[in-house]
């Protein structure tokens, strides 16, 4: 009989160990694929960063040539933004949104799978550009024309075309994902989960998706025009034929600045989930945190030209963009103060996710404050395009986004894989990364103020310039070591199988994902409790505790 039933229900090829991942439409598996792929690019982009820092440790052209430096710099920026930060957050959103709102899956599971495979394809196309005729793109991640145009002395060859193609694919991937998130969040929330009872991470993803929908088409349009210029001889951005370079700058930054918030809003959401759980408190001012997310998203679309203060737009426009950029500091400040107030009178459990969350607040504050200098346009004339800006956006994007997603990884790892990451290695990871990060990027503020411009393979001064650059390079080595510790931690937990098995709810969480098993079954929940507050799991625990045994 047994043999017969096997014949009746054969195990299809789709259930194979590898094949099941290739054909999956399960949001959890897609989320994990996103995160795993992004971490792979993170290591690759990090290696590029180490190459650059090694070249800059001392003056001269000793390690990378000037040509390859420009390629490495362009690829590092594009990789970290388009292949690491955005997709890893999409990965978290994929894994978490349906679980947090008590849904079975995303609204469009197949579309979801398509988003992932497009992302992977886009990344491969970008990295294939190393083998393109003329080498990888080398016009920086903004690809300003005319440097990115197809002239023999600017960007001939096909590297830039690969870059454009990859941006097109990645844009499509993100747009499909954004639509999917919006539809899911609007339609599939658990009974009782009103907007004001929605986890703040889900608020953040809703906003993130809307911003992507509005901003990404501008990028697609800009790179399409650039592609036409390069391949069929149009002159959209070639001034000698009536084109306008400033037009490209506007189109690019109309996408580029909301993009910054795309990369940090979901992290705000993660911090708003982690902090309360590890403070054993509710978030301080739920509504303020939720609405400040919307406020940031709205204003993020009105600040783009603060990237163009040195373009010579005139006092009127510069003033408008200075004021709008300063306004955006207000909702951001609200968030920071609310987070700090969340820890007030708490029972702070300083596990690794909490350390990363607190580290995020410390570092992101720094990045926000240095941003005020850059918003004041006459001061920006001094700081723009210098290493000060490099320091500023790394405090936002690494000190902010990356510390946030590492915190998120430690926090949700047990839910994703059913095993805990080691706390001791986690703490080593955090402290090495924290110290290494500050060593790398704090001195870059000073370098910028001393007059070092960005995107140079060398510099012509000794003394402090050399000292700060060397400290920065050593710091980048410490960061690499920290990342190694993280990888060892994963290896230890899963290859050596030493990770402690996690129960459903190892951290005593607040949100619905902790209601199901770790890892959750394919259908997520057998049943979902009626949601009566923003912290359904805590409600449940209290009700259980009140029940007479």
């Amino acid at each position: 009989m047994a043999a017969r039933s096997e014949a009746v229900y054969p195990v299809g090829w789709k259930s194979g160990r590898v094949a099941s991942w290739l054909v999956t439409v399960d949001h959890k598996r897609i989320g994990i694929l996103y995160i795993g792929t992004s971490l792979m690019w993170f290591v690759a982009g990090g290696i590029l960063a180490i190459l650059m820092r090694s070249q800059l440790a001392t003056p001269g052209e000793k390690f990378l040539t000037k040509n390859s430096y420009n390629e490495v710099m362009t690829m590092h920026g594009t990789t970290m933004i388009f292949l690491v930060v955005i997709p890893i957050l999409a990965g978290f959103a994929n894994f978490l949104v349906p679980l947090m709102i008590g849904a079975r899956d995303m609204a469009f599971p197949r579309l979801n799978a398509l988003s992932y495979w497009l992302f992977l394809l886009g990344g491969i196309v970008l990295w294939l550009s190393w083998f393109a005729k003329g080498g990888a793109p080398h016009a920086g991640w903004w690809s300003y024309p005319t440097l990115s145009e197809n002239f023999p002395y600017t960007s001939p060859g096909h590297g830039q075309d690969y870059w454009i193609l990859s941006i097109h694919i990645l844009t499509l991937s993100s747009l499909l994902g954004a639509i999917n998130f919006i539809v899911t969040i609007h339609n599939m929330r658990a009974p009782g989960m009103t907007w004001m009872r929605m986890p703040l991470f889900v608020w953040a993803i809703e906003t993130y998706a809307i911003v992507l929908l509005v901003a990404l088409p501008a990028l697609s349009a800009a790179v399409t025009l650039l592609l036409l210029d390069r391949t069929v001889g149009t002159h959209f951005f070639i001034p000698s034929h009536g084109g306008s370079i400033v037009l490209y700058q506007h189109m690019f930054w109309f996408f580029g600045h909301p993009e910054v918030y795309v990369m940090v809003l979901p992290v705000f959401g993660m911090i708003s989930e982690i902090l309360p759980v590890f403070s054993r408190k509710p978030i301080f001012g739920y509504k303020a945190v939720a609405f400040s997310t919307l406020g940031i998203a709205f204003f993020s679309m009105l600040v783009w030209a603060h990237h163009m203060f040195t373009t010579g737009l005139g006092t009127g426009l510069d003033s408008f963009f200075m004021i709008s950029s300063m306004i955006i500091a207000v909702p951001t400040g609200i968030k920071i103060f609310n987070w700090i107030a969340t820890t007030w009178r708490g029972n702070l459990i300083l596990d690794t996710p909490m350390l990363f969350a607190l580290g995020f607040i410390a570092l992101f504050t720094m990045g926000g404050l240095s941003g005020i200098f850059l918003a004041a346009f006459p001061v920006d004339w001094q700081l723009n395009d210098s290493y000060y800006v490099v320091a500023h956006f790394h405090y936002v994007l690494f000190g902010g986004s990356a510390f946030g997603f590492f915190g998120g990884l430690y926090y949700w790892w047990p839910k994703m894989f059913g095993r805990m990451l080691d706390e001791r290695l986690g703490k080593w990871h955090f402290w090495l990364l924290f110290v290494g990060f500050n060593m790398t990027f704090l001195p870059q503020h000073m370098l910028g103020l001393l007059g070092m411009v960005r995107r140079v393979y060398t510099y012509h001064h000794g003394g402090l310039w050399e000292a700060y650059n060397l400290i920065s390079t050593i710091g980048s080595g410490v960061m690499a070591l920290a990342t190694l510790v993280f990888l060892v931690n994963i290896w230890r937990a899963h290859v050596l199988r030493k990770g402690v098995r996690a129960g459903n709810d190892p951290w005593l969480g607040d949100t619905l994902e902790w209601y199901t098993t770790s890892p959750p079954p394919a259908h997520n929940f057998d049943s979902v409790p009626y949601v009566t507050s923003a912290r359904p799991l805590r409600d449940l625990r209290r009700r259980l505790a009140e029940q007479p045994q």
Binding site: K281, T310, N347, N384
Partner: protein, 330 residues
């Protein structure tokens, strides 16, 4: 016990930071020493913002550290809840309004400083210089000078006189920046931007292109030589073919082809007979050149005929040598 390592690390970092400040007075904590009114006023705005942001920094990071220390677990069970505070409207209003006020103050200070940064003192009689950013050199046209003086790499200006810059580019975007003499302005093809400064004292002020412009971006440096009125007048008046040829070679050709034309990033050209022919060279310099070894930008797109002739004269005398190295065409 678990707090010893973090607090030690923190203490070390703090000590390092303080030591850094102490040993390297202005070691990059403010923009470089300003030597022009626009740079000084920018510095003032910088200090005002620095004051406010430092205060916010200390408050935020201080509260964060204080709360971490004060409300840490101390062996409490994970089940023990903190105070279930859901918010406090008045408090939240306060930390919304205070930043608004601070930002308003910063905004007002910036707008008060702006006229002094943005526009030159009205009563003065400026000299006009056109700055042309090229791949990969700066060219300066002294448009007031009767003989249309030009220089490459080094700009000569008289001390104490307002210099009005017209900033343009014929190829890709560059960005003019000499930190001691004010901020940046992009040189954008198809656009004319303006900038000004007034050097307070004699000296040479270094700067470099701040917008990625290609492979030699890092070597696209500029020097502003502020000197007495007499020296300036002398420089402008002695301008002629014999001076510009040498500057062109050193500031433009040599960066790729080597100081003696022996080759470097670009091919060896010392023995190339083109170096002696004005007409042939003219075509390459104006249009660029794509050969088997790569492409040369049209570095001489805006050069005068006389300029190219004087480059050829210089190269004939100092660079060209029929026997220098093997045949090479470029």
């Amino acid at each position: 016990m678990r707090w010893k390592l973090p607090s030690f690390v923190l203490a070390v970092l703090l000590a390092l930071a303080t030591a850094g400040v102490a040993t390297a007075a202005n070691g990059g904590f403010t923009p470089v020493q300003p030597e022009s009114p626009n740079a000084s006023h920018t510095q003032t705005a910088y200090y005002v913002i620095l004051g406010f942001t430092s205060a916010i920094f200390v408050i935020v990071e201080g509260l964060l550290v204080a709360f971490i220390v004060k409300y840490r677990r101390r062996g409490r069970s994970r089940e023990v809840e903190g105070a279930q505070v859901h918010g406090h409207t008045r408090l939240e209003l306060i930390w919304t309004v205070i930043p608004v006020v601070i930002l308003c103050v910063i905004g007002v200070v910036v707008f008060l400083e702006l006229p002094n940064i943005d526009s030159a003192p009205a009563s003065t009689d400026p000299i006009h210089i056109t700055v042309e950013g090229h791949q990969f050199y700066w060219q300066f046209d002294y448009v007031d000078s009767p003989n249309h003086a030009r220089s490459i790499g080094t700009m000569h200006v008289p001390v104490g006189q307002v210099v009005d810059l017209k900033v343009v580019s014929p190829d890709v975007i560059h960005s003019w920046w000499v930190p001691a003499l004010g901020g940046k302005i992009q040189a954008i093809p198809g656009r004319v931007n303006h900038f000004w400064f007034r050097a307070n004292k004699a000296g040479s002020y270094e700067g470099q292109c701040a917008e990625l412009c290609g492979v030699f971006h890092a070597s696209m440096r500029a020097v502003v030589q502020a000197e007495s009125q007499q020296s300036y007048q002398h420089f402008v008046s002695k301008y002629g073919p014999e001076t510009i040829g040498k500057q062109e070679w050193n500031g433009v050709c040599a960066s790729c082809h080597g100081n003696l034309g022996q080759g470097g990033y670009g091919p060896s050209i010392a023995s190339n007979t083109l170096l002696k022919q004005v007409a042939g060279l003219d075509v390459i310099l104006r249009n660029g050149f794509t050969g088997s070894l790569g492409a040369m930008p049209p570095v001489g797109k805006t050069w005068t005929h006389g300029q190219i002739a004087s480059l050829v004269a210089y190269m004939r005398k100092h660079i060209y040598s029929a026997s220098a190295g093997a045949t090479s065409g470029g």
